[in-house]
Symmetry: C2
Subunit: 363 residues, 2 copies
């Protein structure tokens, strides 16, 4: 691979495609750390495996796994899933993996952001994060792509793009003092535009209530197609999520994208609210990390945290009373795709969901 | 990848090509263990880097490196060399990597042998070797090839093939009690034939004097083309190597290959003899491994331990008084290839040379 330090994707004519464009594959990491994943991560490994198998039916999946868990992952995953050794601090490929950009000639390159565990020493979730910080480079090496090194703290889950010049993020996240405190909003917007080849950045105020990523946009909403967004919602005006969803809805109703289009917004009612049980809390190693995992803690559950595969949507099943309506809504938004629900609670217990643990490689 | 447990390459029509056939690339490992490589492996890392760069000019090189050394290797190797994380016990890709086999349709598969550190608990060189034992699988995963799992102890350096049905090995190595003591010579020959698709196995009696691999054939000789072998030689009748080279020469003069051809044998005079210096011995960590590294130890140096790249031979420079004649001999054997000498002493100090640290991926 070649390191591209002196130019940006925008200068070189590379853009980040929308997740709804076709993929050549998908990367995931294997969950392992027992201070985040209960019962030695075994329930999470089952959930991740089910997600990997579901996506692998539609596009080739590669799972990165530490040396300690290599045999276990290789044994549990189907032979057609590629398993590669890689060290990491936790297993959020969306946030630690590269953002892939492509040009019109069909070339692909990787954007490698700075990673600081969702807030560094300000409000990051664990320390150290040095292994996570190398994952994007290591993925790019195996994919054989050139790499842009951006000295800009960003996780893949804090952005959504339409592939046509528009990016949606949240002010809560990208303007957090834990990310790029020395940069102004304009400088951050400028960096996003240069590295993802954008014309317009849309700034939703806040993400999902109690999301420990400081408001990642990918738990709040999903870009489903150019001009089309799915937004997590609640009808319960007393729910702390209500004002956040209303605020996002009103903001998105009032803006246009890079092409001048108004946005169509599909509301998907949230699950629950969901709370950590005593049994679930009991299964997690005690630790001094920033991850709070106590009985009764509210979980930041959202159906919008799904993955758009080549022929399917893989979304988390989180609440029996809401799963079916979420599925129907997704089928309305994606009439040509198969809608596949995978039990997602064990992923949610770790602090995210299906979108957070996946990273597509564009065609 | 698919695991092929129930068939063999021979049944499926796959054969191991000769090293002199064209490659799609080459794999290496990064040297690291300080009880084998002096001065924290830094001189060896320079030597391996020079080998990787020389081969990479002719075919794409991938270097597998542990997490601890990832940044160092990535920084020292050119950007066009692919660097991937992989754990290992030492850095002999020839011996721990897979043997690749191909069919006439252009498909490739990997043969994954058992590995026991050149002799297991009988006379192996270190313990444990569990990380080494997974390298072949991990390489196959990244290459995306199906894998045959052979429950047969074998290192890639203990065999040479002509790609046309003939294999050369040594009795000293493959009949050693440290490899497959429960198998007869006929059973071993049968296993080789099935997994590499052979018709004839040639059994040279012994390898190079004091070779700690128990006589690997790849330090003694090299298959240069079908019917053509380079053999390490000495004119010094008092040298302990003399009888071994004569014995091999006489054996090879008396046999025919799978196609019924007699062999043309090119003698390449050995370097030295070479001995470990006090300074070299001093730089190695004290250990309880089976690797003896004491001042005055004779080193098993051989110019036949070279790599055949797509357009070049990469061979070790080991003795100023012999290097040039070795180079001329190689140029005679390979008139169409560039002959590239790389300082090889630091590799030799670890127990092998350029062929031992490389593994070709056939076209």
């Amino acid at each position: 691979m070649t390191f591209r330090h002196n130019t940006t994707p925008q200068e070189d004519g590379f853009r980040m495609p929308g997740e709804f464009e076709q993929h050549r594959g998908c990367w995931m990491c294997w969950p392992e750390r027992s201070d985040n994943w209960r019962l030695g991560a075994k329930p999470a490994q089952s959930a991740f495996t089910a997600v990997a198998e579901a996506i692998n039916e539609s596009e080739p999946v590669t799972v990165a796994v530490s040396p300690a868990q290599f045999n276990n992952a290789r044994g549990r995953l189907s032979g057609s899933i590629r398993v590669v050794e890689m060290s990491y601090d936790d297993s959020w490929m969306r946030d630690v993996g590269p953002s892939f950009v492509v040009n019109d000639a069909g070339d692909m390159r990787a954007v490698d952001w700075d990673f600081n565990a969702w807030g560094g020493h300000y409000n990051g979730l664990y320390y150290p994060w040095d292994k996570d910080a190398l994952v994007a480079l290591k993925v790019a090496e195996i994919e054989g792509t050139d790499r842009y090194r951006s000295h800009f703290v960003l996780e893949g889950g804090s952005i959504h793009v339409d592939g046509e010049g528009t990016l949606i993020t949240t002010e809560e996240c990208l303007l957090s003092p834990g990310r790029n405190p020395d940069k102004t909003k304009e400088e951050i917007e400028d960096g996003l535009k240069k590295y993802l080849n954008l014309e317009k950045v849309l700034w939703v105020p806040r993400g999902v209530h109690l999301d420990e990523t400081t408001g990642h946009v990918d738990n709040l909403l999903h870009y489903c197609a150019p001009g089309v967004v799915a937004l997590t919602w609640t009808d319960d005006t007393s729910d702390r999520q209500y004002e956040r969803s209303v605020e996002a809805y009103e903001y998105l109703c009032g803006v246009t994208d890079a092409k001048g289009r108004s946005l169509t917004i599909h509301k998907i009612h949230q699950p629950g609210p969901l709370f950590l049980t005593a049994e679930e809390a009991e299964g997690i190693d005690l630790t001094e990390s920033g991850m709070d995992r106590a009985e009764g803690d509210r979980l930041a559950g959202s159906y919008c945290n799904f993955y758009i595969g080549n022929d399917r949507i893989v979304f988390p099943l989180l609440d029996e009373s809401r799963d079916e309506s979420a599925k129907q809504k997704l089928q309305e938004i994606f009439p040509d795709k198969k809608i596949v629900g995978i039990p997602g609670r064990e992923i949610l217990l770790g602090g995210g969901n299906i979108h957070c643990i996946t990273q597509q490689v564009p065609k």
